[in-house]
Symmetry: C2
Subunit: 113 residues, 2 copies
């Protein structure tokens, strides 16, 4: 069960940042590791996935760096599910700030399968 | 007068590449110099602008590199206007390949003014 409302602040974690300017969002998305993280979150229930399920061939600290870049762009937030830290894709917030961007990227990614 | 049809091959220049996969397009857009080039092309008549009007504080060879990245992503093509080399934004082609992406980016950029 997801214990937080959609992209609301999580007690004990920093409040979700606003969606960053489009330049910052593009830079966050323009990395194959982060793009795959975003794709997996988008495909997960509640767009929320445990951290370790979001990457394959990188170390934990590298993954943490990528999570931070995504979070600081306002694309994701941290949340807890069953007491375990997860990452959630803030799809609705990004769609409101930059309509069409993330859905277009996700559609482009699924077309590449 | 623009001497070529929209994003058609220009005699003497390489044919326009297809729009690249979304990962490549994102990487091409995720650079402030290239994003400004795209913004200026989008604002120009026929989305076509002479090269030197598309950048300010970089050298010609750096600009050429950026033009190449945009072109190889399928975002732009080279065209001649009055015998002078211009760059044209292939907005319609990109919209067809990745609906919403470029318009969302351009809207995001104009909102940042």
């Amino acid at each position: 069960m997801v214990e937080t409302e959609a992209c609301s602040p999580v007690p004990g974690l920093a409040a979700t940042a606003e969606v960053a300017p489009v330049q910052v969002v593009l830079a966050a998305l323009a990395d194959p590791v982060r793009l795959e993280m975003v794709r997996r979150m988008a495909a997960a229930p509640d767009r929320t996935e445990r951290c370790a399920a979001l990457y394959d061939d990188i170390g934990k600290s590298t993954a943490s760096h990528h999570f931070k870049v995504l979070r600081e762009a306002g694309l994701t937030e941290r949340t807890y599910v069953g007491g375990v830290l997860h990452q959630r894709l803030c799809l609705d917030e990004v769609e409101t700030a930059l309509p069409g961007l993330l859905t277009s990227v996700l559609t482009g990614l699924s077309g590449a399968d």
